[in-house]
Symmetry: C2
Subunit: 398 residues, 2 copies
């Protein structure tokens, strides 16, 4: 009897240990660093892939994120959580380590973009419909503040070009009102607003320089851009690049270029020309055009490799099967690549040795070596669009 009991105990014990080991293994395989993670938006499926860019692999797929036809992503400051802003006003928090959706709120009827505050505690979402900016707690997604975008006459405005800036500030533009606002969220529930009116007709998108100093809004309703120096908000808005825009001829514009795609490389900014087959080179000290580089089509994203030596460009339909690489030193095209139909977005690895490319109509994400231009990997993805790596958590204005 004793020996039988001991036998049972031993067998059960061994079984329990084996079970523990299996549970441990399955639960802890996702114990890993988050510095080389990212997400790829699968725009047609309301889904994101969680990927890692050290060995080019897919770790998980997370769905139920709603309409991602125009989605953007920011990260928690530890790099574990992705916040996905969807077209339908959905704000989703995705746990990259567990590969699952933590929380999702439908914060408005129609949103266009978002940002995370410098301290990582607040998320701001800009809305087309009903307009305005809503601010959420990044940990819980609980609402913190609501900033209606009403002009002087009380009319609601679409909000575009929302970015974060140092000092827990957000900066954004009011499309209909033609205004730029700075919201200081030092006291999260009581935003302090600085408003600039008459900045130009229909600001449609904006960028902030990587140091968080200059906010530049593009204008849909006229040529030129509106610039705010955030070191000197008291100086107001300055008009720069008066020729930038659709110009006199009003060429057909297949897609207004994304301004967040501007490449800032050293003292130059590389800018997609509107409606033309050209990338413009701007001297950043004087915000003046100094060169014009003919390219393959109408540029959409113009992105600088992190070391500033190369600028990669994708194009609007019907030239969107192509990528071109500009050598910043010579301002010449160094390489033309044809990844396939509908090259929608690109993301560099943090130190720039590789570039990930979404090729929507080929259902593929390609990885290129930026030095040899060799294709290192190709990953299947359903209608991929935006690619966003966790290193963004550590950058200003992304």
């Amino acid at each position: 009897m004793t020996s039988t009991r001991k036998g049972i105990e031993r067998r059960l014990w061994n079984k329990a240990l084996a079970l523990s080991a299996v549970m441990l293994l399955s639960a802890c395989t996702n114990l890993r660093g988050t510095g080389d993670l990212g997400v790829v938006i699968e725009r047609a499926s309301g889904r994101v892939q969680v990927i890692e860019h050290s060995t080019h692999s897919r770790l998980a797929t997370v769905d139920g994120l709603g309409d991602l036809s125009h989605a953007s992503v920011v990260y928690s400051r530890d790099g574990r959580f992705a916040y996905v802003f969807g077209r339908d006003g959905g704000l989703s928090k995705v746990d990259l380590l567990r590969g699952r959706l933590v929380k999702r709120v439908l914060q408005a009827g129609n949103s266009i973009g978002g940002a995370v505050s410098q301290d990582g505690r607040l998320l701001a979402v800009s809305n087309y419909e009903p307009g305005g900016v809503r601010v959420f707690d990044a940990a819980t997604l609980a609402p913190v503040a609501d900033i209606p975008a009403l002009d002087g006459r009380g009319n609601a405005s679409k909000v575009v070009g929302l970015v974060d800036a140092p000092g827990n500030r957000f900066v954004f533009s009011l499309y209909d009102a033609g205004e730029i606002w700075i919201a200081d969220l030092s006291i999260p529930a009581a935003p302090r607003l600085t408003k600039y009116t008459d900045v130009g007709r229909q600001p449609y998108d904006a960028l902030i320089t990587p140091d968080g100093r200059y906010y530049v809004a593009g204008l849909f309703g006229e040529d030129g851009m509106a610039l705010v120096d955030l070191w000197h908000p008291e100086r107001g808005v300055r008009r720069v690049l008066d020729d930038y825009g659709r110009g006199e001829q009003k060429l057909p514009v297949y897609k207004m270029p994304h301004l967040e795609g501007w490449a800032i490389a050293g003292e130059y900014a590389f800018v997609p020309a509107v409606g033309q087959h050209a990338v413009l080179v701007i001297d950043r000290r004087e915000w003046r055009q100094i060169a014009r580089i003919p390219v393959h089509g109408q540029p959409v994203f113009v992105m600088g490799r992190p070391d500033g030596r190369q600028v990669w460009v994708n194009f609007a339909h019907p030239h969107n099967d192509t990528l071109q690489v500009i050598d910043v030193d010579t301002l010449q095209i160094a390489k033309t690549l044809r990844p396939g139909k509908a090259v929608l977005h690109m993301e560099f690895t943090p130190r720039g040795e590789a570039l990930w490319v979404s090729v929507r109509d080929e259902d593929r994400v390609d990885v290129y070596d930026t030095r040899s231009f060799e294709r290192l990997a190709a990953l299947p993805a359903a209608k991929p669009s935006g690619i966003f790596f966790t290193a963004r958590a550590h950058r200003i204005g992304l």
Copy 2:
């Protein structure tokens, strides 16, 4: 009998499940992002603290790292592993998530610094004794390549100022030989070397600009600096800042300033003057001094906040209880702080909202809000020196 046996089985099973749960819990509590982690060197104890900077807390202590009296740290590209280069030639790999030493090799008799390649696969360590650079596999710490630093006559040289550069290159200086070498590790076991001779007497330290383009070595044996444009290695070494150094008067220099402490902010570089109570402002386009800012003592580290709006400075003995903050816009001292005795090192959070400060003789690490200058936290630490956050994994030249 059956029921007894079933009873025993049930009790044992429950016990086993409880045990599994406990094991799971203890093993997986360290499932977390690594983007807000870092290490603090406890120089006298051969130990590092693993910290996180979202809520200012210590997560673990890892000891057995040898002589850390002059230590530096780089990170794996996923941010999980810290590589600690010790004074005794020790190279240690620390797992931040598990809070333990993974591996340690004694690679040379006396080392001074190290770097990680752009692709994260290689570690390079520079040595005083026996001199030269050794290259290791970042995953296993197995030796990959050995680069003896012999001048044209076959004499061994101390190696200093080792940094990584884009294209899986390392750049370093030979103190005794007066040379600068570029090692291209595209084929890891067969480094291709480019050597510049007669760069100046006794290069003692160096920096690379954040874009990885310019390598600048300081000279101990004469005034001036040696600059290599890595976009144009064929152009050779250029001498710049001819007045930089100890000058005619040969003032007593309590501590040669670290060049890696140079702050690159926009078009300016902020540079510690040697032996003088001043920070020099250099125009980066022409590498020419344009201003001189009087400060509290002989500067050691001159570090730019990530947005480039502030530069923080600590000082050599006997003024090393003080920190000063320069406003980059006005080039004036914006703030003077006295954290306590022996302020040795500083590290900004990735987006610059806070600064961590080692106060060695107070056995404390302080955290400051960089906007209000308020002290946010103080953590106990035994003789802390270097502070290194994982965001360095994503930067060039750190």
